[in-house]
Symmetry: C2
Subunit: 374 residues, 2 copies
């Protein structure tokens, strides 16, 4: 039985009389084939992937698995329709935080029709695509069991200003993700989600190294999907941070030229993420400065040095996993026992013990191993 | 006494009734200030350079020295006009080969006026800017004392197709730079001009590393000028390969965002140059295959192993510096004694002994030392 995906953040949504993707319970994602050449383009692209020797093994994991095409009942009730059958990227994910980031300041190919170029150029100019080289097409950020997801409207997401995009990229990895405009994101999960040798930045840098070299494809209007699970991070586990490339309806042959449009946008995104990891002062670090110094030792890098002497204070750091507290801007680690407090600092030890310096070292290592024109 | 520059390859040229740049004999280049905000923008940009702490020392050398502004007689006879006074980049250069490469698939800023955007977009779409991320705004390639320069018209240069741009980038560093469309560029100077630790690729990679990081400026319609002297290369000396950034009439503040448009185009150019250094098969290497194996040992990498046994053959490699021969497609090393022959292989030992592998090693080294988001 096909159903509407639970965690779709961008694109057309399935509904009564509305055509959109569907999922089944075995982990397959059914994307309706667009009737024009966009549909056939995307089928051709996915079909070519397994036999394309120009894609290195370590890059293949960034593409969703393709299972072929299948005639299934369209979500809009119009009857049987050919769908792309893909891996459901949300399968097995519990309350995933997801961003769909459309890469490139230009979403149209030089070869596209006048009409299409005009339409896209307008959207690119009205969104952050032109100034930033990418736009957030949609997102959901998990807050807590009680509060659910923060999921701004797609139109609002796409029209974010530069400063708002910066804020959203910080909120995405923060424990204080309320709609409260006063609350500065604490970036509590930045080091575990964006940082580290398997984090988002590392994956983006691998992709960058490939895009500096590959001249097979030009990907217009293609997105990078960023996923992680906050609850895993809170349990001290790996948050399963992962990027995937999606949406290949506007793929063109590279013909010996790199995809400078995608690469430029990707580098811009990388710079934003990198900045979050290396400029913690722009996150909500003043919490530690305000905190009761007798009760906690929280440095700029939010490393908890003395775990025995921590109490639940107004600005306190709480690390006792048995008695965790949800603060107004805090982390929900144990939903059984949730008194309120302001300005809590994330209790996740794994995240906290990754110091700022550690992140930079990781990053350097990644840069030198995966980077370069090769 | 101001005069018309001898080696200008792009932009408006000074002449009777025509406004263009002038040079003096002390090595200064006078660029007429454009009357509108472009002129004041460029003055503001150059004026800010010396005091801008965001530009690292090793990057400053890529900008021409700025000496201020000065009222001088305009070249069009219209009287005194304010000019930017800059370093004359051709000063001291003997028969320089020069390319003016306008970087970026987009030559307009998101903030520009509708009218200006429309005009630029048209040019970007009609040139190689959109597909390649850069366009050759103009060039001159020195051939020989007898033949002078190959200098295609500016309009022709700007409308080169992808394949033609590839060809020109090869011709630029070839000894056989005739207009003969049958002659495949031999890329005889590729390793000394593009390659090596101080070559063009190395400089472009330094610039790339900075553009991955810098969020101070967005440079629209800015060019990279590439210069070298073929005659120095022929004499076994360093050809003085150098890049300079020029034309800053459309500089905007970066405001925390990298210049993804410039960076994308720069990476595209880098890939083309890199390909020339690492895919010699696309240059005129078949010469060696056709050559008399008794008389020369020329590998795919054009390394001359036996210098004692080389003779002037139809396809011969000639390394006797005293008696050098100009071939139809060959290198002119000594213009006193110039019999004709077909398919000569460059006699420049410095260039020839830089093997293909050597170039790649150099490049890897450069990548790891200057590259990366930092």
């Amino acid at each position: 039985m096909l159903k509407v995906p639970q965690h779709q953040v961008a694109g057309h949504e399935a509904g009564v009389g509305k055509l959109g993707p569907l999922v089944d319970e075995s982990g397959r994602f059914y994307k309706p084939l667009q009737g024009d050449e966009r549909g056939s383009n995307e089928v051709a692209f996915y079909s070519s992937l397994p036999v394309n020797s120009g894609i290195p093994e370590h890059i293949r994991r960034f593409f969703p698995t393709f299972y072929g095409t299948e005639l299934v009942e369209a979500s809009d009730g119009s009857g049987l329709l050919l769908h792309l059958v893909l891996e459901d990227l949300a399968l097995g994910r519990v309350n995933p935080s997801i961003m769909d980031i459309k890469i490139g300041s230009r979403t149209w190919a030089p070869e596209a029709s006048e009409k299409y170029i005009e339409k896209c150029l307008k959207k690119d100019r009205e969104s952050s695509s032109l100034p930033l080289g990418f736009r957030i097409s949609g997102l959901q950020i998990y807050r807590s069991k009680e509060l659910g997801f923060w999921k701004p409207g797609k139109k609002a997401a796409q029209k974010l200003s530069t400063e708002e995009v910066k804020l959203v990229l910080r909120r995405f990895v923060s424990s204080n993700t309320l709609n409260d405009s006063d609350s500065k994101p604490d970036c509590a999960f930045a080091s575990t989600v964006y940082g580290g040798s398997t984090g988002i930045l590392s994956q983006l840098l691998e992709l960058k190294a490939w895009f500096e070299d590959q001249t097979i494809f030009h990907l217009y209007s293609c997105s990078i999907l960023v996923i992680f699970e906050k609850e895993l991070a809170l349990e001290g586990k790996s948050p399963g941070a992962q990027i995937k490339l999606i949406d290949f309806a506007h793929v063109y042959e590279g013909r010996g030229v790199i995809d400078h449009n995608f690469l430029g946008g990707l580098c811009s995104l990388i710079k934003f993420i990198y900045k979050i990891l290396t400029a913690p002062s722009e996150c909500k670090i003043e919490v530690s400065a305000k905190a009761d110094q007798k009760n906690l030792t929280a440095s700029d890098n939010a490393v908890v040095a003395d775990r025995k002497n921590l109490s639940d204070s107004d600005n306190g750091v709480e690390t006792d996993q048995k008695n965790l507290t949800a603060y107004d801007n805090g982390v929900v680690a144990d939903r059984k026992n949730l008194p309120d407090s302001d300005n809590g600092v994330a209790a996740d030890r794994k995240s906290l013990t990754n110091s700022h310096d550690g992140v930079v070292d990781d990053h350097k290592h990644i840069t030198y191993s995966v980077n370069g024109v090769s």
